[in-house]
């Protein structure tokens, strides 16, 4: 029963990683850049929904919607101001810019909201008792897993079935050719950032519901973990990000419970390294043979 409880907490933690990783992987797939600022967008999402709930007194779900709207705008603005001018620049230059944006968001948050942790009120509260109270699952876990699955399915359908989704896939395949086919590449990339940032806002609210201490650095570690999850599942692949996120969360929860609390992150990273050695493109990534 204890094992089940750890498993459940692992899956719900993993679902948060998966939601963040989905945003990461979409942006990576199309812009071919590691958006290090993604983790900080999560943090901003957390703060916006916290403040909306506290100051405007709106219900939690509405506060999440407000956070999504703010983060969407933020994502589009970041992309337009910082990343678009570097479209043809070497990838390292874009990476450093992303790091700069990450510092900028963190330090702006520090200046505006201060370093003291804020106590976030969970979006939903209460727990579900199963097996005569032997296994308790909080509603927030259920909501997280449900959100994650809905988002994954919606994204798969969106990229697979709609015209914009097709444009996205075309851009990630070959930007030049996509442009020649009449696809507005810039707008498509903006849209991807908008979707990724909206997902980050959802992830922010869910993350803060789990661990209610909201700080300017809240997003960094989950951001790195989610990035690991995206690589783990095969970066650029939507089901891969989902699978990678869930597996990462489960491994982390089980390692923390059974092996060592201090080394849980190390174990997660060690598993990542082993997986990459066996499958260099991640679990579900496409391995393309290099042609000479």
């Amino acid at each position: 029963m204890k094992f089940l409880a750890y498993l459940v907490s692992g899956i719900s933690l993993g679902s948060i990683y998966a939601i963040i990783a989905l945003g990461y992987t979409m942006v990576y797939g199309i812009a071919k850049m590691l958006n290090f600022a993604h983790g900080d967008v999560i943090m901003i999402g957390g703060y916006v929904s916290f403040l909306a709930a506290k100051n405007l007194g709106v219900p939690p779900l509405v506060s999440v919607l407000i956070a999504m709207a703010v983060c969407t705008v933020l994502g589009i603005v970041i992309e337009a101001l910082a990343y678009r001018p570097l479209r043809s620049a070497p990838s390292l230059a874009v990476l450093i810019t992303a790091i700069g944006v990450s510092y900028l968001l963190q330090n702006s948050a520090l200046l505006i909201w201060g370093a003291n942790p804020k106590a976030y009120t969970p979006v939903v509260s209460g727990t579900l008792q199963l097996f005569d109270g032997q296994l308790s699952i909080s509603y927030i876990s259920l909501l997280t897993v449900a959100c994650c699955i809905v988002i994954m399915v919606a994204l798969t359908l969106f990229t697979g079935r709609t015209k914009m989704g097709k444009a996205m896939r075309a851009c990630s395949e070959d930007k030049g050719a996509a442009q020649l086919m009449g696809i507005n590449v810039n707008r498509t990339i903006s849209l991807t950032f908008a979707i990724g940032s909206a997902l980050a806002a959802i992830a922010g609210a869910l993350l803060c519901s789990f661990s209610p201490a909201l700080m300017p650095t809240t997003g960094s570690m989950p951001g790195i973990k989610a990035f690991t999850a995206a690589v783990f599942g095969g970066i650029g692949s939507i089901p891969g990000a989902f699978l990678g996120g869930i597996l990462l969360g489960v491994i982390e929860a089980l390692a923390r419970a059974y092996i060592s609390t201090q080394l849980s992150n190390s174990i997660v990273f060690a598993v990542l390294i082993i997986v990459l050695l066996v499958r260099p493109a991640g679990l579900l990534g496409k391995y393309t043979q290099e042609k000479v």
């Binding site: 510092y103 330090n107 200046l111 690589v231 080394l263």
Partner: protein, 358 residues
Amino acid sequence: MKKLSKGARSDLITYAAVILAFIVVSVLKSNGSLNRSQSGLLVPICCYIVMAVSLNLTVGILGDLSLGHAGFMSVGAFTGVITAMSLMNVIPSVWLRLTLAMIVGAFFAAVIGFLIGIPVLRLTGDYLAIVTLAFGEIIKELITCLLVGVDSEGLHIIFNVSGSKTANDLKLLEGGRVIIKGAQGATGTKTIASFTAGFILVMIALVIVQNLIRSRQGRAIMAVRDNRIAAESVGINVTRYKMMAFVTSAALAGAAGALFGLNYSNLAATKFDFNTSILVLVFVVLGGLGNIWGSIIATVVLYILPEALRGFANYRMLIYAIVLIVVMLATNNPVLKTYREELRAKFSRKDKKEAADT
């Protein structure tokens, strides 16, 4: 006098500039122009210069993005501190102890670099980046679990996986001292690092890296960076040269770490986290990939910048972030780039003309 090649000439200029900077700063330091906090920056700056130069070898010359360079620094720092502290009674000379600590730090960092290099160098691009990041985090957490003490019987080392052990479990004899206390890191270290040692380390790092770049091996490494397949097809052993650059880089980072560790009486392993790796990477990229000279200048400027902005207190990191973004946007702006290239073309034509005249 024998005419020097362009590369050798720029190497000599670099050495001369570093020596000149050292002399100027030493004079300023001895006549008291530097206040306490300013002179406190000197050793860390030297360490970070070595870090940037060594990371430039991996990122700029070898062309592999490493996000875990602080891990090697960490290995060097803690092995260096252990060496220096445990030899305190045996070797009275500070300089000998410092040198030994740096050599041991470099050695262990090189060994770890080699072990990490075996899996890491099989990967490329972003996958390599994430794995180096992962290794950096693993090293950090492993050191957080480490308890080390020394007494007359020798070193006592406990690996504190469960998190329940304390320094008392080391069972040190009378007169023994704890060197590394788990999450607190190295405590009570006798600080023996000095600016002169830092300068010597910078010079050694420069000599090693610049000579490596100009050597046959260095050309092979750059060939691997430019086109791995082509390099392999002309008979370059890709793995060997990649490993050579990676291990050299790790060893230098280890030596820098040892000096860094011996500059603070208290140092936690969390100091060498992902952010430190990123900090050094920023120095390298802003200085210019593959440009050793640029790395040095970028390190000095960017390390001093947040300190110089102390007057702005809370805004300094914000300004730092904005400077970072603006510099990246400006250096990669297509309009400015063409302008700069035109300027450079003008100058090089002038150079050629002068060469033809003489």
